[in-house]
């Protein structure tokens, strides 16, 4: 039965057109960024950074390098937006449309229903992250050669890698990207369990993220970076560091998983106490 319920949720989720908005937006954003990378000073700046550190730009301005460069802003801005959009719909849209009342006239427990919805959301988050990475790599390959990988994130990573090792780490980093997406999705899911419109749940989840971003940037909070969500979201970049700071990566991963679980439990408690009315 659990399999059937999860399958139902996936049918519902992937049967809707708005589920695919994020995928479409990624395609557009990635192509716009590729054009910018190809035809503006962006590429020149990277060549200078490489040359300044004794590396030949032509060896490292590659498919893998550009794919990671494209992912950095998308992970922090676009991916949360589309994860929150879907997460906010998971419960609140069904309540708004009236289908939730149809489901809850049947002998399924509210906990079971929310669990399968949340799991379906998690699957969507993983698919979104993988699609984002796959399209970034594919489009970058159209414009740039398959060579070594250069990853640079100020204060976090500076590393050059051979193509095979770069690809392996690129694939690994998608596990962390999927966790990032699932955190935002879980936050939106939690808000959507309360009595509110889907858009309100989406906006609240994004507001939480942006509030974290703003507070993290305030000098007063400089020594409290680890209190904020974006700090842990960036742990996916540490996978490219040499050596990988496993302690920090694991710590961030556990905090993100705790965010997921806490959001689910708060959402479940709120939903359990709610009256479902037309």
């Amino acid at each position: 039965m659990f399999y059937h319920h999860l399958r139902n949720e996936l049918w519902k989720l992937f049967g809707k057109k708005r589920t695919y908005i994020g995928f479409g937006a990624f395609l557009l954003a990635q192509n716009a960024m590729l054009l910018a990378f190809r035809f503006t000073h962006w590429q020149k700046n990277m060549e200078q950074v490489l040359a300044g550190n004794g590396y030949l730009a032509r060896d490292y301005i590659s498919t893998l390098t550009v794919a990671v460069v494209m992912l950095i802003p998308q992970i922090l801005l676009l991916m949360p937006l589309y994860a929150a959009l879907v997460g906010g719909d998971l419960v609140a849209k069904e309540a708004e449309d009236g289908t939730l009342r149809m489901i809850l006239s049947r002998p399924i427990s509210r906990f079971r229903l929310l669990l399968v919805k949340w799991m379906a959301g998690g699957i969507f988050a993983a698919v979104l992250a993988v699609a984002l990475g796959a399209t970034a790599l594919t489009f970058a390959r159209f414009w740039f050669p398959w060579r070594g990988m250069f990853v640079f994130a100020p204060g976090m990573v500076f590393n050059v890698l051979p193509p095979a090792e770069g690809l392996r780490l690129y694939l690994c980093s998608h596990f962390f990207l999927a966790i990032n997406a699932s955190v935002i999705l879980s936050l939106a899911f939690m808000f959507s369990c309360f009595n509110m419109k889907p858009a309100a749940a989406t906006i609240l989840a994004l507001s939480f993220l942006f509030l974290n971003l703003v507070m993290e940037g305030i000098p007063f909070f400089e020594q409290y970076h680890e209190w904020f969500l974006p700090y842990h979201f960036r742990s996916w970049l540490l996978v490219y560091a040499q050596p990988i700071p496993w302690e920090r990566v694991t710590g961030s991963l556990l905090i993100l998983l705790a965010y997921n679980l806490t959001s689910f439990l708060i959402g479940t408690a709120a939903f359990q106490a709610r009256d479902i009315k037309s």
Partner: protein, 310 residues
């Protein structure tokens, strides 16, 4: 089949349902009547475990809905006003999804129910292409899929055209007759309730103001409809013979106690007054309902009036 005992539901300060005690026996078609906001949908929500009661006990087939929701709802199918579906999926897929929340359902069983409600041939079309009547039939199909013993219908005819309302009425009767279902019907259409239900309850402002058999609601009235060649002459004769006490609207008479219509006809015919029709005027459910509501209003008005100062 359904028992509510002293059930109360408050939304903040507002009491939506107060002290509701109700019993729907197996095999009945039970009508739930009341104005908008009377508490019908809240009561149905509580029966389905969607709305938590503030106080009281609700059982379906002996299972407490709040504590044993899954067991209580196993034999229940429900239809709501304006049934909602996943419009972007096919009718068949909608039924697959909704039925799976009750029990695993085979494709052949789904096809069988689709056939029963008359949707064969359209089951693979997206629900957004369905007419209102087809959506109503799909709603019926989803309610029938768990093989229910009890159907809870909350305004099932709402939004349907006259033909659709007629079809829904026939279907409800067919469900009761062929499948032996117990049916709880909440409806605004008094004539629908009158034609379908054997027992009714009337709610007003969260309180139950009547529960009883439909026959009791349709009390035979004191008025007899009399069509004669000359109503005034006829009633003067009947008054003279002390057979009637009152008249109304130039066509109704009220008989004296112990007086039958046979004596009225006999007297009028003997005096050469033609009698075309004589029949007791039974109170309709509408009249009964409106008189109940009027009574409620006047009671509320009295209770809201401040006590006169002496």
């Amino acid at each position: 089949m359904i028992r509510l005992k002293e059930v109360q539901k408050a939304f903040g300060q507002h009491l939506a349902v107060d002290g509701l005690t109700l019993h729907v026996a197996a095999g009945q078609i039970f009508g739930l009547l009341g104005h908008n906001g009377a508490g019908k949908s809240t009561a149905i929500g509580m029966m389905l475990g969607q709305v938590w009661p503030t106080r009281g006990e609700i059982t379906i087939c002996g299972f407490d809905v709040t504590k044993q929701r899954q067991e209580a709802l196993q034999p229940v199918g429900a239809i709501f006003e304006s049934p909602a579906f996943y419009d972007y999926l096919s009718g068949f897929r909608n039924l697959e999804i909704l039925s799976s929340y009750s029990a695993p359902t085979s494709r052949s069983r789904i096809s069988e129910v689709i056939d029963w409600v008359g949707l064969t041939g359209r089951e693979n079309s997206k629900v957004r292409t369905y007419s209102h009547g087809m959506r109503a039939r799909l709603a019926l199909a989803q309610a029938l899929l768990p093989n229910p013993q009890l159907l809870i219908l909350d305004e099932p005819s709402d939004g349907l055209d006259p033909e659709g309302i007629h079809d829904m009425r026939l279907t409800i009767l067919r469900l009761h007759r062929e499948l032996g279902l117990t049916i709880l019907l909440s409806s605004h259409f008094l004539n629908e309730v009158e034609q379908l239900c054997t027992r009714i309850a009337v709610l007003s402002h969260g309180h139950m103001v009547f529960e009883g058999d439909l026959a009791a609601a349709r009390r035979p009235a004191v008025w007899i409809r009399l069509k004669t060649g000359d109503f005034d002459q006829a009633t003067a004769l009947l008054r003279g013979a002390d057979l009637i006490g009152d008249t109304r609207d130039g066509q109704f008479i009220a008989l004296r106690p112990e007086v039958g219509t046979d004596r009225v006809v006999q007297l009028l015919v003997q005096r050469g007054i033609a009698v075309y029709e004589i029949a007791p005027e039974e109170e309709t459910l509408e009249q009964f309902y409106l008189s109940l509501m009027d009574h409620e209003k006047s009671q509320n008005a009295q209770s809201e009036d401040p006590a006169p100062h002496v």
